[in-house]
Amino acid sequence: MKRRMPLLISILLFGYAFLYIPIASLIVYSFNESRLVTVWSGFSTKWYGELLQNDQLLGAAWLSVQIAALTASLSVVLGTLAALALVRFRRFRGRGSLEVMVTAPLVMPEVIIGLSLLLLFVAMETVIGWPAGRGMNTIVIAHTTFAMAYVAVVVQSRLAHMDLSLEEAALDLGARPLKVFFTITLPIIAPALVAGWLLAFTLSLDDLVVASFVSGPGATTLPMVVYSSVRLGVSPEINALATIIVGLVSVAVLIAGFILWRQEKRNSMDSN
């Protein structure tokens, strides 16, 4: 056992290096003095300062955040409803197809989601006149279609583990079904909703492919700006921006993970 330890540790280190060295180098070079991304010439935070002057980037970032927040909220509502239908109502017409359709976006290539939604929006505009043009609205709708699938999966697993007799107990004590949902079910699955919200938020924030299909003039999200500016050459400003995004996403993922972990721990304590 002892002899194997160095080998195990080196495998572990290699794994971490493979995953995180690219990100680490990006973060390191965001503090580079030089305009040339690959040449280190000293520590500086000036690119963060310049970032704040770049209206195009900041505007795109604000738009992305708005889209992500809207997408996350819509996804939580729709995903929760889908999960409730799948877990609580065991038998109903079309259950099988709902189950497949809810999870299909998880495995569908993004290019196909983007293209099909674009065709849908164009067709809808000619037939019913809505959505008039493409922009923030269409991006939110498009992101919601795939983000709600992730929310549904997270909420579904939480609901499946929830003791049904909790809801029955509330009914038994005189609460009507809707009241039971808001006073018992919702608070108990709340951690999954928060985790689902954060997940949907990050998914929407870093989506490039779907957004570039369904966005219109004047609605350019942050990943689209980054992508187009990198094609003209990587600027250290992008490194700084990327560092900030990595930081935000890590925090969100950590919070979601922590909430789920705490819930899991409480559950295992409950069942003891």
Binding site: L166, E168, A169, D172, P187, R266
Partner: protein, 379 residues
Amino acid sequence: MNRVRQFKPEEPWQAPEEEPIVRIENVTKRFGAFYAVDDISLHIHQGEFFSLLGSSGCGKTTLLRMLAGFETPTSGQIFIDGQDVTNIPPYERPVNMMFQSYALFPHMNVADNIAFGLKQEGMAKSERQDRVAELLSLVQIEQLAKRKPHQLSGGQRQRVALARSLAKHPKILLLDEPLGALDKKLREQTQFELVNIQERLGITFVVVTHDQEEAMTMSSRIALMHEGRIEQVDPPRRLYEFPSTRYAASFIGSVNLFDGYVVQQDDDQVLVQCDEADSLLQVRHSQPLVPGMAVTLALRPEKVRVLKDFDEEAPNQLRGQIKEIAYLGDVSIYHVQLPGGKWVQFTQPNVQALAEQPLTWDEEVTLGWSANSCGVLTE
């Protein structure tokens, strides 16, 4: 340990003119082709501690859930206190239920859990607090009011669940395996507490249990269920001493069964011929039986005595050889094999500590019992 409970007020099920608090009329519940509950009719009276006893899958929980309103009967009707509740949803029924998992709301503390039902009624806050305090002291957990369910032990959770289900003064309290999640020691202690609380409040309790000892200790009457039907409804003592079916006889306690046919009947004394016994078997039975009719005699192991000699003239005798002895501390169980191969078991109290075993392996013994100690099963 088994204390057969004496029901204090005169037995209400003997008074047919009194309206029962629960009237189940020809209730059937089908899940697909499976009959979970099969045409059951049952009356439960005010103040009873009524047990639905049976092995898992016998339909007892389904029946309880139909009383609570979580399942609707496929056919038949349920009346509670004279009111037809067959299609009334659970939140409008005057009954409350204590769940097997306790189903305490994990995001509320003990006091809020107990107050939940009162809040739904729209009870004023000060009144609610008084009622919660009253209930906390009833189940002796005043000091736990601010705890969350996950900070409680199993026994404490059980008390919270009980207090919560009693909060609204239900006409009937339904309890699904109330002691199932507790360990043995705590279970025995809690049994008596449950009975005391029930007697103090006078609320009708309907309990689902698979544990015959629990049902025997607590109940005023027991309904023994088997495959969706009721085998027998009787007070514990009658159910044990006079089981009416083979299933009832073998489910409660252990029993020796003898198949035979009726030879003759004088008044209440019946003589039965059984090929496995060495003499005619005599038994007391007041219902008239036809000579030649096939019957089964049920003999409890503790009713059997060891006789000194075999008496050619006397009834109720068996001869056999002791093959196995199980020492249980308070009693020993002896397994005797008859010459025909049939096994009979009997128990003997271990009266003296460390006394030399009066009976030992491979010993030939003659067993006997009185005509009053045996039951007659006709189905």
